[in-house]
Assembly symmetry: C2
Homo-oligomer: 170 residues x 2
């Protein structure tokens, strides 16, 4: 009761638990997008010279997977070592991509409870390059995922495929 009252009075408007649920909710939408793509179009379809959706997904994974280590421990991979820069080891099928996605989902859930609450407001330098409070890195990864996934909605629509509902985060 006491801690509830305190958190109402404090200027907290997004708890670590709510941020995790928000992120994983968006990641569930992205997973449904991967599933909605035809196998071949996932890896080759493009409009206006933009990347295929699988490459965007690898960018999401390339930030979230090593990023979670940085968030939890303060040890960051260098930008050039991020997974999405090593195209030779990218998944080559939808099944492999979904498996990689699910592995990251589990990693996020596993490391999240190990992050001390005050860690989210600490200043750090993500991947040795971007400075700011730790929560801002996670926000950026989420925003980046929404942004590029929105682009993939156009890919699907132009292929005549109904995308999953944006508002359904279940």
């Amino acid at each position: 009761m006491n801690s509830q009252t305190e958190s109402t009075i404090a200027p907290a408007i997004f708890t670590p638990e709510a941020l995790l649920e928000h992120w994983q909710g968006h990641r569930r939408v992205t997973r449904r997008m991967i599933e909605a793509f035809p196998e071949d179009e996932l890896f080759i379809y493009s409009i206006g010279g933009m990347r295929p959706f699988s490459a965007m997904v690898m960018e999401f994974i390339g930030m979230a997977e090593p990023g979670m280590d940085g968030v939890a421990t303060g040890n960051w991979n260098a930008v050039n070592d991020l997974p999405h820069h090593a195209k030779n080891v990218w998944p080559k099928t939808k099944k492999e991509l979904l498996q990689r996605w699910d592995d990251v989902t589990e990693k996020i859930n596993r490391l999240w409870p190990q992050i001390p609450p005050q860690r989210f407001n600490e200043n750090d330098k993500a991947f040795g390059q971007w400075e700011g409070p730790v929560y801002s890195f996670i926000n950026y990864w989420i925003d980046n995922e929404i942004h590029h996934r929105g682009q993939a909605y156009v890919y699907l629509r132009s292929l005549g495929i109904e995308p999953p509902a944006f508002y359904d985060r279940s």
Copy 2:
């Protein structure tokens, strides 16, 4: 000094001030997107049967403008009364759309300091329909803006136009 220490210890990871700056930062990117569109394509260009970007922008305005009253006062417009459902009063030129956009920017900045900090964590029903803590409504409006604006990036790219940088929120 004392309040700084307290906010570090509390599980606050997104203060009202940070949320406002986050929102307005995204809105600055959206404004640059409006500017980047050719006048006619802003109102007619479409891929895959999706809406032109101006209609998406009116949806952002249609949530943010009356939504700010709801956030600040608890009095919500009904869904059917939202501005983006009254197409007959939509701006018909880029200049008018930008003016409307800037009016909402000012409204958000004007009302924001009037929102009591604890209001963001209060449960309410946005536009008489969506239940949740107040901060979650604002988050949804931001996410919705990122999502559809990302779609407009594909529109611009397919028109051979370089969109503004996603990461630049200045």
